[in-house]
Symmetry: C2
Subunit: 326 residues, 2 copies
């Protein structure tokens, strides 16, 4: 039996589009920040008495579609590492589900670490990252703490695509703003696939993201938070732009999303250092200097904001977490 | 002295980007509908006693920047056609200015017709269109009634780029919805220029717009309003998408804009035939079958809608209008 904790991550340069659906090989490299306040704890026990994998999520049996997705991922581990027992998987998030917060990254990173450890395997972070990627692409970044870069890899080579932790230590906060209108009309995987297949603007995305990634790494290395923020905003807007031009369009924004974009722009005009990013949903995430309490308060005070998770840099995925949720 | 009336037009396939700033040669062809309810009346009198051109707009002397723009355009006419007198120009719109409604198209089309007629010239619609284009690009389309296509032309050849009326007669309404939040942060010319210069997504716009234009012409010829509407929405979203990825971003939408996009999508799901388009500002224009009163009422009832101009197909620019405003 093993318990692992993995933290969510928010991409500053987005993963947007797969070049290989099954292996989840991305069309472009991406870069994220792992967050301390949002995490998943997962306990895995292999039991000879089980006739199929079991999944308990936040205290209740998981929906069958979710159980099957986890079971297929466990099949991959069993095949790769040569064992056959079914597992009891018990998982819980430190944050409310259904609030539009990405949980598959932390979930599959925690599952990868717990399931391999419970099988008696000791894998390197790179091996864990490569495996986690096949559960949910962005999970490969949640194996690492701090800033992490996901290398897109080459051709159809599974072993070539994994994340790496970056040396950079920039003292930042990421404020996750959950908006009143949290409804997500199109899932991230569906929106991504439709954009790749039908948006005439998608063809320039890989080169755009690659240029943004290189520029952002340089800005991180230079400790230039304003440049990091500007590039992060640009990359998020470019991602959503490719989705707008899909057919039918993929529009993740709600009116409240646009109101918060304007709020961040206005705060910046008023001298607050803060920059937004948006994932495949309506919520807004804001990067700001660590300790900028006044900016955080100004963000929180917008009427469209229902809930705020203010996150510092989170640690790498690890076993035997303190005060486990499972 | 001549008085001309020209009607506004709304592009179904957008003009977005110039390949020649002075001649206003566009990077892509565009296609519009001329609207009956929105028009400009302009009276031009050449007077030997004037020492510079005069401009009265909606009953008051126009701001100097506007007077200069009109005067530079009159210089072009004087140079092209060999006369020298300065003009008194009196112009008025049938719709409130400052409501975020494009007026430069109807204004420069009416000015071109009135100024050349007052000079004793009888120009063909094609000649008028070519001239009007140099006043304001989209004005070249307002010389024609109904649906009009603006041909992008070749290289730097002024004479190769003008609009043509299309034979199509599709019985439609265009409802121009003026939203509560009518503030326009970035002018259309500035947003266009910044997008061309800095958006990595702009490179695929010309080919995208060209494909949309051909498909929309085919849909018009087939009388397929649903296909026309879907292509119109796609083209508008692709245009705004290129602007989002500019640096800094060009975001014309307000939260209310997105609320109305959703409203149109929901009405369509409920069986109403209606499709939106958005120009370089926050307002929404909705294409619907002529006579669809229930749909119009449903659009009007949204709380973010301040004012609605329901337009039928408008006529070509013409002299001696009935009940002139000037």
């Amino acid at each position: 039996m093993s318990i692992a904790r993995a933290h969510s991550n928010i991409a500053l340069i987005k993963y947007w589009g797969k070049r290989h659906e099954v292996l989840k090989l991305p069309t472009n490299g991406s870069l994220s920040l792992t967050l301390d306040a949002l995490y998943t704890d997962t306990r895995v026990s292999y039991r000879a008495d089980l006739t199929q994998d079991q999944l308990v999520l936040n205290g209740a049996p998981a929906p069958e579609a979710m159980r099957l997705r986890v079971s297929r991922f466990l099949d991959l581990l069993r095949q790769t590492h040569g064992y056959s027992a079914y597992a009891e998987v018990v998982s819980a998030n430190s944050f409310p589900t259904g609030a539009g917060l990405a949980s598959s990254a932390s979930a599959f990173a925690a599952l990868t670490l717990a399931a391999t450890a419970a099988a008696g395997l000791q894998l390197s972070p790179r091996q864990l990252s490569q495996l986690a990627r096949q559960g949910s692409g962005s999970a490969c970044r949640s194996i690492f703490g701090g800033f992490a870069e996901w290398l897109p890899g080459t051709a159809d080579a599974d072993a070539s695509s994994y994340a790496e932790g970056l040396k950079t230590e920039l003292p930042v906060w990421m404020a996750v703003l959950v908006l009143n209108q949290g409804h997500k009309a199109t899932g991230s995987g569906d929106g991504m696939a439709r954009t790749v297949a039908t948006s005439p603007l998608y063809s320039v995305w890989p080169a755009t993201a690659s240029a943004d990634l290189q520029a952002l790494k340089a800005a991180l290395a230079a400790g230039d938070l304003a440049a990091v923020g500007e590039l992060m905003e640009h990359n998020a807007l470019a991602m959503h732009a490719t989705a707008l031009a899909a057919r039918p369009p993929v529009i993740y924004w709600q009116p409240e999303t646009l109101a918060l974009i304007q709020h961040v722009q206005q705060l910046r005009s008023a001298g607050h250092a803060c920059w937004f990013t948006i994932d495949a949903g309506p919520n807004i995430k804001v990067l700001l200097p660590a300790g900028a309490e006044a900016t955080l308060q100004a963000l929180r005070s917008h009427p469209a904001v229902q809930q705020v998770f203010c996150c510092s840099t989170g640690p790498a995925a690890h076993l035997n977490p303190a005060e486990p949720l499972v």
